[in-house]
């Protein structure tokens, strides 16, 4: 009928022809995407490498086995809180109260265990339920009353700190020495268990990736070149084996009491990462979260219950925040009236954004929380080792957050210009 159609009549979809493109071509395509503003994990990984080099030269203890283990336990609560925030950011919303909501929840756990002698399992469940209820209330207010989440959660940020104070008493704190809870950050897997779990994760990932690739090829769907799939498996294996190797070395300063093995917080993060990657990437709920973040009106017209998605996301966020502050309690050995206040939330938002999650909604992944969280934790850890005054820590972290947000804004503009 027209030239446009007849010309390409026999061509099919142009990319169908380039489905099995070479490694070189897909590297070029990747560079094109990065140039176009779709940077993915690049800034956080690059930042991490730079930070490791800088701190590694500045302080010889930074790269020690002991400090690497410390870094991972310090990063734990930040990463989990950032993971809590990713779905909220995907909606283009923000939850400023996530930190203190987690604080209230951890406080409920501490008070139940210490003051009421309840078993740890019950206390943890109560904490998670507390988080869920707070999240539902926030979600209901945001979705049904239509108040911007910024304002609603700012109100909760203030109000919930009062709740913590009331629960725990002015300036008070509850010591957490229950074995399981304290063990999250302070106990380690045995060396053998560490290797087995690590290898199992690599094998699991490799099998799934290869199966998916084969299925796509068989059904003639768009897929990455085989070499890229293999490269991804190798990269994951290298990271997993490297981290396992370092953490399985003796890191004790006292030769009589060797400390080695993976701290339990790490497998916990891996499990959460798998869970959230699955929920956001492979389920209808996840797809709808992205849709609402991209265009709420389009989502509504497609028959998606936008309110339900919003409420569920805020609920998930506060529940994950509870988990984050439980881990924080394990790291610091106590729950205090300031748990989750201060810069905890800013760290987490910064982590998600540095990782590549957009503040404008619709773009981001669970893994962003991990890479970004490591960047933030590395800054805090490295500056701490250098014995810098705490004002420097604040200024640097604030600067990094601003930088990440600027990168987000600029790359978003480039994306809309290049249509990626």
């Amino acid at each position: 009928m027209t030239d446009i159609i007849t010309e390409s009549e026999e061509a099919g979809f142009a990319s169908d022809l380039t489905q099995s493109n070479t490694l070189g071509e897909s590297v070029q395509a990747y560079i094109g995407r990065v140039r176009g503003g779709d940077m993915g994990a690049l800034p956080s990984v690059f930042g991490l490498v730079v930070l490791f080099i800088v701190f590694g030269f500045a302080n010889d203890r930074f790269l020690s086995n002991l400090n690497m283990a410390n870094l991972i336990t310090q990063a734990g609560p930040i990463i989990i809180l950032a993971m809590a925030l990713v779905p909220v950011l995907l909606l283009g919303e923000i939850d400023l109260s996530a930190g203190v909501a987690g604080g209230v929840a951890a406080c409920v756990m501490g008070v139940l265990m210490v003051k009421h002698d309840q078993p740890w399992g019950l206390a943890v469940l109560a904490a998670l339920a507390t988080g869920a209820v707070i999240g539902i209330v926030i979600g209901l207010i945001v979705a049904k009353l239509g108040i911007p989440s910024f304002v609603v959660t700012l109100a909760f940020f203030l109000g919930l700190q009062g709740v913590t104070l009331k629960l725990i008493g002015e300036g008070g704190s509850v010591r957490i020495n229950q074995e399981v809870i304290a063990g999250i950050a302070n106990n380690n897997m045995s060396v053998a268990a560490g290797w087995i779990v690590s290898l199992a994760v690599i094998a699991g990932y490799a099998v799934l990736a290869l199966l998916r690739h084969r299925q796509k090829v068989e059904r003639g769907l768009q897929h990455q070149p085989f070499a890229v799939v293999i490269a991804q498996i190798i990269a994951l294996a290298a990271v997993m084996l490297g981290v396992t190797f370092i953490l399985n070395q003796n890191r004790s300063v006292n030769p009589n009491f060797p400390i080695k093995g993976i701290p339990y917080v790490l497998p916990m993060i891996v499990v959460l990462l798998i869970l959230w990657t699955f929920a956001l990437g492979r389920t209808t709920w996840g797809r709808h979260v992205y849709a609402v973040g991209g265009n709420p009106e389009a989502a509504r017209r497609a028959g998606i219950s936008v309110d339900r998605i919003r409420i569920s996301v805020f609920m998930a966020c506060s529940t994950m925040a509870a988990l984050s502050l439980i881990v924080q309690a394990s790291v610091s050995g106590k729950v205090s009236s300031s748990s989750g206040a201060g810069n905890a939330l800013l760290y987490a938002v910064g982590a998600a954004v540095i990782g590549g999650t957009s503040l404008f909604g619709g773009k981001g992944k669970a893994r962003d929380a991990v890479t970004g969280g490591l960047v933030i934790a590395t800054i805090a850890n490295g500056l701490g080792l250098l014995n810098q005054a705490s004002w420097i820590n604040f200024v640097v972290t604030g600067g990094v957050l601003l930088l990440a947000a600027s990168v987000d804004a600029i790359s978003r503009r480039r994306r809309s210009a290049t249509g990626l």
């Binding site: 446009i4 003639g220 768009q222 991209g294 009106e297 619709g362 809309s416 990626l420």
Partner: protein, 276 residues
Amino acid sequence: MLSSHHPISDPAPPERLTMSASNPLLELRGINKSFGVAHVLHDVDLAIYPGQVTALVGDNGAGKSTLVKCLAGIYPIDTGEYVFEGKPVSVHGPKDAGALGIEVVYQDLALCENLDIVENMFLGREKKSGLVLDETTMESKAREALTSLSVRTVKSVRQSVASLSGGQRQTVAIAKSVLWNSRVVLLDEPTAALGVAQTRQVLDLVRRLADSGVGVLLISHNLTDVFEVADRITALYLGRVAADVATKDVTSRQVVELITTGHSSDLDASASSTTV
């Protein structure tokens, strides 16, 4: 140029000429709709016939988009009857309209730019195997639907919608109706933002949809387009139906009069009734 196995590729069936024989697929009777104090639709009657293109014309603000959104279940109807295949139905949301086989291509395109073509085509109706999204089935089906419309200008079905041109987006939206085997397709100014060639493509697409037995409602300000593809014309004037006529019974000048003044002096009053 079309894959011959698809029904849409068949040449225009004869029903197009014997329109009076078929009953309306979808009918609105005496629809009223207000936004607060603004009474936008007054006792609107509308009929959409299978295998026909019904054009809905009217000036800016006449209420065309509002009528489409009422049909789609986006806006609740204040009073009036919604009849599908002769049976009164109640449509409370986009899901209900979708269940009846009604697909809408909105004037303000309802696509998520951050999702790709496949994800958009299945949005709200994702295929699953167990708990997990069935990406392979969705991608194959989306590919089939686009191929059957001989859409060849998009590079890949996994391209994000943000990277598509206006015409390509329009095509994706229309392809949804093929994908879901829709009975009725409502298109709100699908060619408004398009160039000559892309308008051509979309109009051909519209005609092919109707020829395959789908009831099509086409909103357009371009009377040349309307006269080319439409079998019937319904003119809306300030929220009221000014005329409902067969395209062959009116001239372009008369339609312009209907749109701008609400009536046409020399339009045979009986024409509108006999053709229904």
